[in-house]
Amino acid sequence: MSHMNPYVYIAFIPLLPLFVFLLLGLFGRRYFKTSSGTTGTISLLVTAALSIYAAYQYFFVSGKTDGVYQKIIAMKYTWLQFSPNVSIDMGIILDPISVMMIVVVSFVSLMVHIFSLGYMKGEERFATYFAFLSLFTFSMLGLVLSSNIFQIYIFWELVGVSSYLLIGFYFEKPSAVAASKKAFIVTRFADLGFLVGILILAFYSGTLDFGVLISRLTSLQSPEFLAITSASFMGASMLTWGLVLVFIGGAGKSAMFPLHVWLPDAMEGPTPVSALIHAATMVVAGVFLVARLFPVFCFDPSALQVVTYTGVFSALIAAVIACTQTDIKRILAFSTMSQIGFMMFALGVSQYGGEQGLGYMASMFHLFTHAFFKSLLFLCAGAVIHLVHSNNMKDMGGLRKIMPVTHISFLIACLAISGIPPFSGFFSKEDILLAAYHSNKLVYAIAVFTSALTAFYMFRLYYAIFWSKGVPSSAAPHGEAAMSMKIPLVILAVCSLLGGFVPIASWVTSDGLPLHTGIDMAFSALPVLLALGGITLATYLYKSENDRPEKIASSLGSFYKLVYHKFYIDEVYLFITKKIIFNCIGAPAAWIDKHIVDGFMNLLASVTEKISYLIKGMQSGKLQNYALYFFCGIVGLAVLFIYITHN
């Protein structure tokens, strides 16, 4: 580019939170004891403003060339040069998905920051909390802007670390420590797949740069494409292996079955953190990763099948489990898993470009709308927990009179997630269902059922919190919530209400060309009616206190118990790790370590000791002995030299 790069300021979008993290992390507890919240929030405000300006500049001013949105490399530095062709770069890529993501991430993070000002007030580690939030935001912004597959991996791990720090924020609680360890280990385990996938893709394509990698692996004639598709391992081509392994990394972060076990436990963190993890950062990273490599995925139908079925299966079981839980944050966690499943299978059923690319657009659209209503749901839950001091919905009920703002916001979010027009979730979910309908009828059927189930369990939650019982007698002593907690709720409620009218379809598509979508009344009728049916059922069962839910639960008997215990997946993991891995692999390995490895070392040490014990008498401290040894040595050498020179 000859002219001045107009996107240099993008670098400040991730760097500003990094700077705040360093500032608050190093000096927060001493100098910013009370002002750390405002510091973090103001910097995030600047970041969000820059992101929105970047989106404006990209989508309306200079992103398009000949009507197609381009991939723009805003910045690029070579960081590690391995060979003339292979290097790890640190760069910033701007394309529709990354621009959309920086807006979503910084906006939701800003809302979470503002909410946390009230929610975390008076915490001992207030400054540390905001430092970690900034780190989390920085990692996620860096992740979405990465121009290099290794760079994305670095930020990917940073996201993992910051989620670990935030989930385990209340580290004096053993359950929080266990949850943070679980989240870290499960996602780390999945990241192993990601790393191997990166190595496979990078090995065959000969580059780590996204643009070059995608162009090489998507042209049918290129030698790299021929090499990766002709090499095969265990019946699948290396392309499939690479993509599936990358997807495993994504599935770990996005809590897809069977790697979802960390997500419900991650609720141990402060509630605003859950909003951040679930709406904008962390869990959507996996969806983003698949979307980033989507042009390559399109060339491998089997990898896309894996994505589709993992997504739709996760969506279904999460929705089923959510119907039986009683911890409000866990219900929301399972609903996240279900919605992420929607985004995943939408990608899976999509093709590249044109009308066939509807699924890709729908997935990104759902990611966009989901960020608003899910963060709203979590922040409302946070406000409720702040008031009730309990996570269990049995301790709640009748709160609509006490907290009207939270009540209305929560209702809007519930309607949005249930897909009721004209709330935002309706539009994105319709697009997903339409894409599934055109591609795979089985997936479509499961998805429609799941979305009805979504409406049911969300309204079960809604009624349990705000209706059910009468107004609690011990009415809140300190009112609904602080102003800083109400403002984000209202802003996010407006976004959840109107988010569906944002023309994502004309901005974020797989090929950069605008896509024309319209709402087909006849097609939308079925999902909407089913969702309304779900809501009606929830109203019938949960609006006022009655014994109907118990009767249904007991009539379902063992199935209810199975679902209530989350299909015993945690127990299966525990069985596999504790009984099989610990006993069959861990114990023998420990034995080998203890007896063979340590034994060898002990043997070396004891032999050395014996020898030195034998010869230590030579060092007697007597000068004349030393002189004698010296003399003997000289005589020996003399004899040796005479012997050598005479032969």
Binding site: K622, Q624, A627
Partner: protein, 104 residues
């Protein structure tokens, strides 16, 4: 009268060397040890001068070496006596057997 040959002189120097060696191994007094070392050095000096005279009569290399060794022996005596004085200050003795702490 027989002329004095190189062998005679080497006999003297070898005898001197082993007398010094014997003194070095058997005596306990540090001063005596120092004297024994001087004997050894002087036996070497005799060798240098004798080889120079009998094998390379036109040169002075061996003589110069002897002069160097005498110089070094003087310096060495100074250092050794300093050590002995310090040893006496700390151990109230100049017997090498009494100064055997530096061991395993």
């Amino acid at each position: 009268m027989h002329p004095i040959t190189l062998t005679h002189i080497l006999f003297v120097s070898t005898a001197l060397f082993f007398i010094g060696m014997f003194g070095l191994f058997t005596r306990r007094n540090m001063i005596t040890l120092l004297m024994a070392v001087e004997l050894i050095l002087n036996s070497v000096n005799i060798n240098f001068v004798a080889f120079n005279k009998y094998l390379y009569p036109g040169k002075l290399d061996g003589v110069f070496f002897a002069i160097f060794i005498i110089t070094i022996a003087a310096a060495e005596a100074a250092v050794a006596i300093a050590i002995i004085i310090n040893l006496f200050r700390s151990h109230h003795s100049i017997d090498v057997e009494d100064a055997s702490e530096m061991k395993y």
